[in-house]
């Protein structure tokens, strides 16, 4: 019974979302990117690390549709493999941030009092550091690698999720069903996980969708300054950084990876906008 109702709620959102053509296209693009990331070895025409000094900086050809970079590596293949790194950075770091944020926000909101006060003051400290400076410092201190960049981005973006969650929990905890749960002597943990979190997570969905986009963006910036994915593994931001050396003669080398970042972030933002309208049609103007 409960499952059915949950499904119908999802279906309702989906029906709303379907009306918004732009959001559907964005969702399609994201699914496509996901598939590209999964099937990269089958889609890429060449191995991403294969160097061919004869073809260094070569223009587009039938063999290499987007040309070759300064080490003679196939740019298209590198872009395809790069999808993996960028999506990982976007999705995993948001998962980390959202998980911590949800936990912190629901505990703070549910218990209130000094727990709430303490966690909010901690978040104040957190948010006093500009987010990108925090991520860069964390990534640099932890040492440059994909894993550490993901951790840095994840930790750097917690406060936003925690605050939204807390605000949402504050309204949910006054609901009758929470009182009912308390009346049948359910434990706090049970109440938080079974009643509070599922019912207050709605407003976070939009934030999470857009968060994936902004983490892809910030992740590419980390790789660009050498604090993210390390060579020879391809990543869009790192490819742009690499292309800087031949920017004067071959500007297209930097153009393609930037476009890839832009398209994926744009897709996340458009889907986020669409979801916001679908979840709460009143907000639409």
């Amino acid at each position: 019974m409960r499952k059915k109702r949950k499904q119908s709620r999802l279906l309702e959102v989906w029906h709303q979302l379907k009306k918004n053509k732009v959001a559907v296209v964005a969702l399609f693009v994201l699914v496509l990117l996901f598939l590209v990331a999964i099937f990269a070895p089958y889609l890429a025409p060449h191995p991403y690390e294969k160097q061919n000094s004869k073809l260094a900086n070569a223009g587009p050809s039938r063999e290499h549709p987007l040309g070759n970079d300064r080490l003679g590596r196939d740019i298209l293949s590198r872009l395809i493999y790069g999808t993996r790194q960028s999506l990982q950075m976007g999705i995993v770091s948001v998962a980390i941030a959202a998980a911590i944020g949800i936990l912190l926000g629901s505990v703070a909101g549910y218990y209130g009092g000094w727990v709430d006060n303490l966690s909010m003051r901690l978040l104040d400290i957190y948010q006093a550091v500009p987010m990108f400076l925090l991520s860069v410092s964390l990534a640099a201190i932890l040492g440059p690698s994909l894993r550490n960049a993901i951790i840095a981005l994840g930790i750097g973006t917690v406060p936003g999720y925690a605050r939204i969650m807390r605000a949402s929990v504050l309204t949910v905890r006054e609901k009758e069903y929470v009182e009912a749960a308390r009346a049948i002597n359910a434990s706090d943990i049970r109440i938080i996980f079974k009643y509070i979190i599922p019912n207050s997570i709605g407003p976070l969905i939009v934030q999470i969708t857009m968060g994936v986009g902004s983490c892809i963006l910030a992740g590419s910036a980390l790789s660009f300054i050498g604090l993210g994915v390390q060579p020879p593994v391809p990543e869009w931001g790192a490819m742009i950084s690499d292309a800087r050396r031949v920017m004067r003669e071959h500007p297209t080398h930097a153009l393609y990876p930037g476009l890839c970042v832009m398209i994926s972030v744009l897709a996340c933002n458009l889907l986020g906008d669409g979801l916001r309208d679908a979840l709460d049609p009143r907000l639409k103007n």
Partner: protein
Amino acid sequence: MVRFIIKRLLMLIPVMLGISLVVLILIDVTPGDPARMMIGAQATQEQVEALREELGLNDPLPIRYGRFIWQLLHGDLGTSLMTKRPVATEMWERFPYTLTLVVLGTTLSVILGIPIGIYAAVHQRTWKDNTAIFLSLISVSMPSFWFALLLIRFFGVYLGWLPISGVDDWKGWVLPSGAMALGLTALIARQMRSDMLEVLRQDYITTARAKGLTEGRVVYRHALKNAMIPVIMVIGGIFGVMLGGSLITEVIYSIPGLGQYIMTGLYNRDYPVIQSGVLIVSALFAVIILIVDVIFALVDPRIRSQYTRKEKRKAGRQLAKETKTVETS
């Protein structure tokens, strides 16, 4: 008002203490020995040990933290391990560059973003509005460092109008501030648009129109002031994004500002630089937010009156108390 500012400044102290503690702990738990970095790989273990002792790296964490705070109170931010110069002096020299960059970038995004937002709102549901929204979405989704490179390639290399790096004259500032402003212009425009649409639906706008005012007067005199308030809030946060963004922009355009300084410090594990850099930039950010909040209070009569009313209420209470004491005595 003064009380409000002082209270906010006092609230900053625990926040800053927290930040410096966290940075210190982070540097402490990560591998890599700053002393080893300083004197190079060929130094003997004894030399490294001696240097560690000299730098006070062997002291327990609370002592180092206390020492850092003590020095901070005396305006001493430590000495850079790389350049051997006081961090405070070096940061002070670099501060004007970052400030100029951030102020220019913010001004540019405000000057562009607000009119675009108004324009889009006034032309809601037309192709003009759609184009503006679409362009702003694209600009938000673009990596700013990528845009910066494209600007260099086009205006610096292809057209040859502007220098590709360095800020020796005003021309050098054009591209960096443009690159910084792009995404934030879009952000402001979006915020302005949605606030404007919200305000234009209010009753007092209908009244203004019913009075027979021209549409321009309605929008600019009656709607704009009310729609501006949330936009000012956004501008405060934007400074934070700008300060973060200055890290990359300054490196790309070789601007000798705080961002570049911190980046160099991070690459070299120059921990006094990292610690003070994060702290000072955060303090700067906090002060800017405070200034924005004060402006906010000054602009919005509703918030302004809260303060005066509070003062008046207090004055009233004071008066009541005094009369009471007079009566009883």
